[in-house]
Amino acid sequence: MRKQFITACLYTLVTTVLLGLGYPLAVTVLAHFLMPAKANGELIAKNGVLVGSQLIGQPFTGPGYFNSRPSAAGTGYDAANSSGSNLGPTNATLIARVEQSVQSWKAREVENPNGSTDVPVDLVTTSGSGLDPDITVAAAEYQVASVAQARGLPTDQVKHLVQAHIEPRQFGILGEPRVNVLELNLALDVLAADRK
């Protein structure tokens, strides 16, 4: 018994050094050697200023940008405090929040390209992480006309911009087609600047 106990103590100590320090540090060194940009979060700098990560969503709520999804992380897209809403399907707060989002989208008088007046579901629901970097293709197309109007750009140009930013299913099979909102908006800024 006593011998087993001593072994348990020594075993915990030795394996903690091996698995708790050796393993993660070795992976860190390898990752930085092989893929430094990815290991640091695919950060995007503009004119030397850090403007975000390609993988982490940012809040966009005004008419001049493609809006991202609503977020339950902190005050919205707080990347040091990721969170979903955790509201259940029959929660009155959820249903009221969605209703309000639907009204505010309709108030922008945007027109759904497929003819219906319904708002794409991802634009009125919060994501799991609160940091979703993407919107669906439907949600991007839904916003084309209003963004073009707010920016004073031809609708066709903005439409092409969206088309160019559609990320298809990975390997043609996995996941869902999507549009990265931060990258799309960075490209939108470039497009608007070029016209001036």
Partner: protein, 591 residues
């Protein structure tokens, strides 16, 4: 539901079938100490480890000795984790200057990670330092998984050995599980995750300048509203990939970040998502093949695999269907699947995963006792959210936790054989061993501890308005589901949650700690007793009256026993929670 969605689900299942055999055969070689291709590299490390820690590798253990070694290891490593949490502020790799973890929360977390549950009452990015995550939490991801595998192998030895008193050496089994299986796969897997964008660094959090600054209006208690301008975004970093790899492979499930595998830094692409789901099932699926090999009855291994597969396919079909229906209470919202969107119930789900991959992940993570999530189960539709709940209630045996899934399933196999014996009026036999009163008593103890913990604690908690109900985020039947899910997840050592429930209170931290520890160790003891007792028995030659355990008939009986035991126990509770909520939702009722 889309064709592509079904295709992705089918592809996942096919890959699991393909992985199971080679991995299972490899693990049989590892645990029976036969030659493997990694030996030249690992045998010296293994020898050094035994020398440093005083392990006598050739000494076999009885089931009681095996159990005591397992308990010592668990207790000591749990105390070390508790200690690290309590002094983390003064230790290195704390760039955010996080304080020490409060006592009750530290206890809950230590119990949670030691039992392979990885229930998280805390927000990791604001609570745990990089050192605690690496040397405390990720360490236990290895340790608890290796312990589970060792116990499963001990159980298999109990079945395959004849007239012996011993089950192997605990330390050798744990060491070989770590060095030959968990560590090498984790290194490769971690680098694959980095290639998809999972971060791996020790730097302080980054501050990005928002493209469009935000005005946030908030109201205080007196109704006075203040406007706050937000111009920056703090981006949490950390050694995530190394932890993510073992978190999935060891079916632990404790996220580096609060939102777990929904967080883009933990699970950035659909491919990382596929790899993570495969890692959850890989070892548990492989162990059925290992079991078949070690008992000289490969077809029995596949018969058990088939029962698990049937239950998995039932779960995913229900979950995918339910989530694709969307939420009937939302009006003016396009929830239909089309060429440009996945549609469905997107609250709490990520666009890159859509409905199919969110439903699949939820099913996989609760079939196995992983508990990682890539979408918020609390926001699933009532029936979609019931699938994860039922998966755990069936006993975490649909592939299950690494090791724990197999030994749990073998208990159900013994019950099935016993019931088949009763039906034909003969003494039940399992692979030549007579199943007698002692074995069935111990198996029943294993089966009964589980619902007793879940229903007992849930029952008490709903009667406590200040301690229990004040933590709820949702009212109505969904509130009951939140509490029921918490204790089910803890007892099943799963760790996923209906996360709206605020579990970081003294009441929940303490009760859930008790349930997690009981759900692991009170079930391991009777299981080891069965293993020890079986090892001692003679093997009788099969006769015409022997019930074969390699046929589809056996698979159907086993599946039936699992479903009937689960349904009889939990159906009343489910009726008052998710089923009632489903009916009320379609009646247009909100809470």
């Amino acid at each position: 539901m889309t064709e592509n969605g079904w295709f992705q689900i089918a592809l996942f299942f096919l890959l699991i079938v393909l992985i199971a055999r080679p991995l299972g055969i490899y693990m049989a070689d590892v645990f029976e100490r036969r030659k493997t291709f990694l030996d030249p590299l690992l045998v010296p490390v293994e020898r050094a480890l035994y020398k440093l820690t005083g392990v006598e590798a050739d000494k076999e253990m009885r089931w009681t000795e095996y159990g005591i070694a397992m308990l010592f290891f668990s207790v000591v490593s749990m105390l070390v984790l508790y200690l690290i949490e309590r002094i983390q502020h003064w230790l290195p790799w704390n760039p955010q200057h996080l304080p020490n973890v409060p006592a009750v929360l530290a206890l809950n977390t230590a119990a949670s990670f030691t039992t392979n549950t990885n229930w998280q009452s805390y927000v990791p990015e604001t609570t745990m330092t990089y050192l605690t995550q690496m040397a405390g939490l990720a360490y236990h991801n290895f340790a608890s998984a290796a312990v589970g595998m060792a116990l499963a192998i001990a159980m298999v030895r109990g079945i395959s050995r004849r007239e012996q008193n011993t089950l192997g050496n605990f330390w050798v089994d744990v060491t070989r599980a770590i060095l030959w299986v968990l560590l090498p796969i984790s290194i490769v897997f971690a680098l694959a995750l980095v290639s998809q964008g999972v971060v791996q660094n020790l730097r302080p959090y980054d501050t990005a300048h928002l493209l469009e600054s935000q005005k946030v209006v908030s109201q205080d208690a007196s109704g006075k509203s203040t406007t706050q301008a937000i111009t920056t975004q703090t981006i949490a970093q950390g050694p995530v990939a190394s932890q993510e790899a073992i978190k999935m492979l060891g079916t632990n499930g404790g996220g580096f970040f609060n939102t777990n595998s929904a967080h883009p830094f933990e699970n950035p692409t659909p491919f990382s998502n596929l790899l993570e789901m495969l890692a959850i099932f890989a070892i548990s699926a492989g162990l059925t093949v290992t079991m078949g090999r070690m008992t000289n009855s490969p077809r029995h291994g596949w018969a058990v695999f088939a029962a698990m597969a049937i239950l998995f396919l039932g779960g995913i079909t229900t979950a995918y269907w339910a989530e694709a229906q969307g939420n009937p209470l939302m009006h003016g919202v396009a929830q239909q699947a089309s060429a440009t969107q996945a549609g469905g119930n997107m609250e709490g789900k990520e666009v890159r995963f859509g409905i199919a991959n969110s439903a699949l992940f939820a099913t996989v993570t609760t079939d196995a006792s992983c508990g990682a999530v890539n979408g918020m189960h609390d926001s699933f539709t009532p029936l979609g959210g019931m699938v994860p709940l039922v998966n755990i209630m069936l006993g975490e045996i649909i592939f299950g936790g690494v090791g724990a899934g197999l030994y749990g399933m073998l208990i159900f196999v013994i019950l099935s054989v016993f019931i088949a014996g009763l039906m034909v009026g003969r003494t039940p036999e399992y692979l030549g061993k007579k199943i007698e009163a002692y074995d069935v008593k111990m198996a029943m103890l294993y089966v009964l501890v589980f619902p007793l913990l879940i229903l007992g604690f849930t029952g008490v908690t709903v009667l406590l308005p200040h301690l229990g109900l004040s933590s709820l985020a949702n009212a109505g039947p969904h509130g009951l589901s939140e509490i029921l899910y918490a204790f089910t997840s803890a007892a099943g050592n799963n760790g996923s949650a209906f996360a709206g429930l605020n579990a970081n209170t003294n009441y929940y931290n303490l009760t859930l700690s008790m349930v997690m520890l009981s759900g692991r160790f009170l079930m391991i003891v009777p299981m080891l007793a069965v293993a020890g007792n079986l090892a001692r028995k003679k093997i009788a030659p099969a006769s015409a009256g022997t019930f074969p355990v390699t046929t589809p008939l056996f698979t159907i009986l086993l599946t039936g026993v699992i479903v009937i035991v689960g349904a009889l126990t939990f159906f009343p509770a489910l009726t008052l929670g998710p089923i009632l909520e489903h009916l009320l939702m379609y009646a247009g009722k909100t809470f």
